[in-house]
Symmetry: C2
Subunit: 120 residues, 2 copies
């Protein structure tokens, strides 16, 4: 296997905590700081009047956030070939978005890599 | 629901087709061109000696690619609140990476958004 791609759906967030680039930039960087990963570049976009999107490119893959304050919803993902401490990230997201519910899905990436290596 | 987050695991790729930023930049942009989505910004990183990573931030969320030429493997994802024509993207990825096997997973994002809207 290559790595884990973990996605978080954060429901019933505090709309004020997910409306602007300044906030989501802090959230994404807090996630990166909580994990053993290396930042390569980052990019953000503010939507009018509220809602923001951002991406941090990692040496190990990526972290992203997209927010819909009108639905009190934020979508976050981390894809890394390192181990991801999900409990740690749960805590960061809950604290930063003030969400009342968090649904986490763990998607294995490159599950068959070894099988293909052996076959070729 | 907010949107679809679709991930592609491309196995047994042509290592030459996924080794460098120039190639993955073409692949990501071909995916964007095949879909009804709006590019906001893009960022790439070359690994030494081979392997590359990149993302395109969209008005509708993001597209990313991370490659492991040593494993003939590429990991791609598209997250969009618009409809994603998966068949079209399958074709682009197969053509650009020359992969022999493609595993696609469709992850619904924000499934409970309406439920929360109704509850609040």
């Amino acid at each position: 296997m290559i790595g884990h791609h973990i996605v978080w759906d954060a429901y019933d967030c505090d709309a004020d905590a997910i409306s602007f680039v300044a906030d989501i930039k802090k959230t994404l960087n807090a996630i990166v700081d909580s994990l053993d990963i290396t930042k390569v570049a980052e990019q953000y976009k503010q939507f009018d009047p509220v809602g923001a999107t951002g991406f941090i490119l990692l040496a190990e893959s990526h972290v992203s956030i997209h927010t819909w304050p009108e639905n009190s919803f934020a979508a976050i993902d981390v894809f890394s070939c390192n181990t991801i401490n999900t409990a740690e990230v749960n805590e960061v997201i809950t604290k930063m978005t003030k969400c009342k519910s968090l649904v986490v899905k763990d998607i294995a990436r490159g599950e068959m890599v070894n099988a293909f290596d052996l076959a070729n």
